[in-house]
Symmetry: C2
């Protein structure tokens, strides 16, 4: 039995449902951000971030900063790219546009390779672009929450390393870290940025990053100072190193209660091998996608290899819009999200299946949601005379 | 009786002790950041921020963003000042140096008027500086947490309005909002930036700002785009207006649980007239300062008019350092902070007296702390043979 007040089940692509122990950690009593208790908690949390990314390379650097996931874009754009340098943005939805805007805000020249809705740029396009001019970074959205498209990070990194070895591979993992496979060291990626509130299962408010030794070197060899202050790695790198060595350190007050919650959820997640967690999410995703197909519905992400395991973006039948279906789901205690793609926000709905809703089958969140979806669709069709 | 686990009383200049109901709000179940429940909570919270600042002018704009208080500096520096414009920084301790660095990061020319430790720049110096060149902003730290020096915001604003009416008056109120008097409209100030974890009594992780209509106009008349992305008012202004009108809106996922906690603490704070809250803090501060004087100790802030009511920074006797006293306090269940001023961090200690520790006399936090201070000092002197 959950200790939480009764509520509809939140199955959007983040925030997600929380484990009771994680939520209880949010109510931790007041502590000094430089006192030994909190310093230990934060230091252990940073070490667990390494495990989350299956990283053992000591040159890699975890970062946890108070802020939304979006702040991770600023940390990349203001520290790893200098004014006038080129950034290549692989576009699979809404979030690539925004990341490109962020990069340009700090002076990068951002070039996007766009794919039609539900698809992703080809590796040939990537290789071709890398041969045309020098890129400081290539950015790729692991799971674009607006479309449910999954990118193949491993292959993107392979192409970049082969064609343009100095280019940093930057992964927007906001909707992927904690449920989609990521092998930070083995795939030789340079940055994964994410947020606390998706498959990591912590309430929103923490920006979480993993930087490779190569990325840290690129930062340290900048010719110009970082282009932001709160997002500056010059401010944060020493702080993170100190906390992980259990030394108190101050730049800006960390979100102490959120760090406790992150500690709790990462303790749960890293207690089991990460591949096991990825497999559980893949199984749940396969079940959702099979059920969606049984309902005669198609996904935005058209082919199995580019379908996320974190979520499913579902085209609605002709004549039915998101506002026709979402209230019927809510009536049955289930919250899905409307679309987010600028071109067609009401033509599809998004079902997030991450974290405890997937890992704790006793909750029956996925089964209940699939049953509710079937009923809500039937109701919507009837109401429209379809 | 508190619902919290037993713990030493946190009496540093933030974070501070929390009310049980505020902490319980941190454990709120998962909600969509664009669902009607959370939209209502966030909208009401923004309206209460207005009350916190005693502001009724509809042109003023409250902002609540996921981040540390430090992010407020970036919001000011990247939105209200353009490259090459002048910023005048009134220095009363550590935080002015950092704010000046932040302003310079985004291209401002920052000029500091420095005062000796424990003092503040004179109004004559301010007037003189304003006559020398045009300043886009004047920044002033209301309570510098490193020294306990209180600035006279009302008079600073009067001088600026008289001598340089277009200059924006920017107040760093991180350690003042919620306990030191601020009349946003009446004093005609343009920005107060603060954080959730000090006298507002919410856990850390929210950057809170109030902007005047004049500040919003200055932003909207920029010649160049904002110099940051996550901190950009172009991104946040429409979001805040929408939430306050109870319309869902998305730029970056808000820290939903922290916003609930802020809602709870602001409901408590704004249920009583703000002047009453300021008076309670002034009384507690007077009691602390009298007790400190009785112990033969001096404060960094030398004269009563520049002593903060939020905290007291206390010089230790010759031969006694902060590490000689803080463990003796901890043994007695009380946590003070060491110094933070770069020149003399171990020569003084800092006692924060804000929020429930002051407003709930049944807790006896202040009495217990004063008794513990007396005993810990006696022990430290004996140990040193003084």
């Amino acid at each position: 039995m959950s200790a939480q007040a009764p509520h509809s089940t939140l199955l959007i692509p983040g925030p997600i449902e929380f484990d009771d122990a994680v939520l209880q950690s949010m109510s931790h009593y007041a502590e000094s951000h430089v006192g030994p208790g909190f310093v230990k908690t934060f230091g252990e949390t940073l070490s667990m971030v390494r495990k989350l990314f299956q990283s053992t390379n000591p040159a890699a650097q975890p970062i946890v900063v108070s802020g939304s996931g979006t702040l991770g874009w600023d940390i990349v754009a203001s520290n790893l790219v200098e004014k006038g340098e080129n950034a290549l943005v692989l576009h699979t939805g809404y979030f690539a546009d925004s990341f490109a805007t962020c990069l340009e805000t700090y002076g990068a020249n951002a070039t996007q390779i766009k794919a039609p809705i539900g698809e992703r740029p080809s590796f040939e396009q990537l290789e071709q672009a890398l041969k045309e001019k020098p890129y400081k970074v290539v950015t790729v959205t692991h799971v674009d929450t607006s479309t449910g498209v999954l990118s193949d990070i491993k292959r993107v990194a392979e192409v970049v390393r082969r064609v343009s070895p100095e280019t940093l591979v930057v992964v927007d993992g906001v909707c992927s870290v904690g449920c989609e496979e990521i092998a930070f060291d083995a795939w030789d990626i340079d940055v994964v940025l994410t947020a606390s509130q998706k498959a990591i299962g912590c309430p929103p408010g923490l920006s979480i990053l993993m930087l490779s030794g190569r990325a840290v070197d690129v930062f340290q060899n900048r010719k110009t100072p970082p282009a932001a202050y709160y997002a500056s790695l010059a401010n944060w790198l020493p702080i993170m190193k100190n906390y992980e060595s259990f030394k108190p350190s101050y730049f800006a007050t960390p979100a102490t209660q959120l760090v406790h919650a992150l500690h709790t959820t990462l303790s749960q997640i890293t207690a089991r091998p990460m591949p096991e967690r990825f497999a559980v999410h893949a199984e749940a995703s396969a079940r959702v996608k099979a059920a969606v197909a049984d309902l005669g519905l198609k996904q935005l992400a058209a082919t199995p290899e580019n379908q996320a395991h974190a979520m499913t973006a579902i085209w609605l039948p002709e004549g039915i819009a998101a506002p026709d279906v979402l209230p019927g789901l809510l009536k049955r205690g289930v919250i899905f999200a409307a679309g987010l793609h600028k071109e067609c926000p009401t033509k599809y709905i998004r079902f997030g299946h991450m974290g405890v809703s997937v890992t704790d089958p006793a909750r029956k969140d996925i089964d209940n949601a699939l049953a509710a979806l079937k009923e809500a669709l039937t109701d919507a069709k009837q109401a429209k005379g379809l």
